[in-house]
Symmetry: C2
Subunit: 170 residues, 2 copies
Amino acid sequence: MANRVLPLDDFDHRLLGLLQRDASATLATLGDAIGLSPSAVQRRIARYRRHGLLRQVAVLDPAAFPATTLAAVLVTMERDTLRLHTAFRARMRAAPEVQQCYAIAGEWDYLVLLAAGSVTHYRQVAERLFVDEGNVKRYETRMVFDVVKHGLELPTGASPRRRARRSGPA
Amino acid sequence: MANRVLPLDDFDHRLLGLLQRDASATLATLGDAIGLSPSAVQRRIARYRRHGLLRQVAVLDPAAFPATTLAAVLVTMERDTLRLHTAFRARMRAAPEVQQCYAIAGEWDYLVLLAAGSVTHYRQVAERLFVDEGNVKRYETRMVFDVVKHGLELPTGASPRRRARRSGPA
DNA sequence: TATGAAATTCCCTAAAC
DNA sequence: GTTTAGGGAATTTCATA
């Protein structure tokens, strides 16, 4: 279903930028913002969806859920076999407490962001995900004290205004 | 505008769980899933919005943007003054390339997730955010090789099915 | 106070151009 | 790509427990 790169023009870039910030805007509003008719906007968004480029979700304000325990976990695997890594990744994707999981460069193999309902809940989850399944060599938990910024926006190429070119003064 | 804790019942928990996964579902669909009329669902969602509890966004598939460079950056500040930290946080919130920023426990002060359009772009941003402003003592970049999981879901208390109580067998 | 059902309005969607 | 027409969904109103 998810196809190859799917060519995107400047309208797409700006539209995706807007949608990443507010997906509840109407097609007319979006169209006005980028200079396109509502229908054209609708057709483009439908195409994004068809290609699996977007999904619409609600993002909750963490501050509104004081009990929520967030943690960043650095993980190193026992051995570097594809089999082990595949299993680990599947486990991460399956666990509802795992918000994000990244394979990273350097001394650690993975960075995992966990969201649990309490510190107790976090410990149970970490035990289950990183200890019980004997694939993890070592993991370090960094508890999150404060969420300074919270989002998943990707640079689309031209989000808010045209990116300035670094040359002489205009 | 964002108020105090705003009491949430079990309908809310389940509704928020659904919305976090798919905010494009119709009110009727959501209502069927949790056993409430479309009107009731609509009122509750309106209340969430009014209290700043949620925002609806489109999440892009990082795999569809091969040029995108993701990086996890660990940061330690020069000195532990409130003034410095406040300035740093404001900078993180203002920078469009900063997806997320967390204050964390341990040897590092912050974990920053950056999304740039290219490696070159990343280096420019890191230079600007962590070097030019002389508040950062040290920072380490962990480039992201692969996005295993991608989301911001918080546990609401009863998302898909009732969370099982850890006691004897049923 | 919050619900469900009905009425209204608005928006999304699918044409035709 | 835009304009038009139709169906559907979001929103408001209202009676009610």
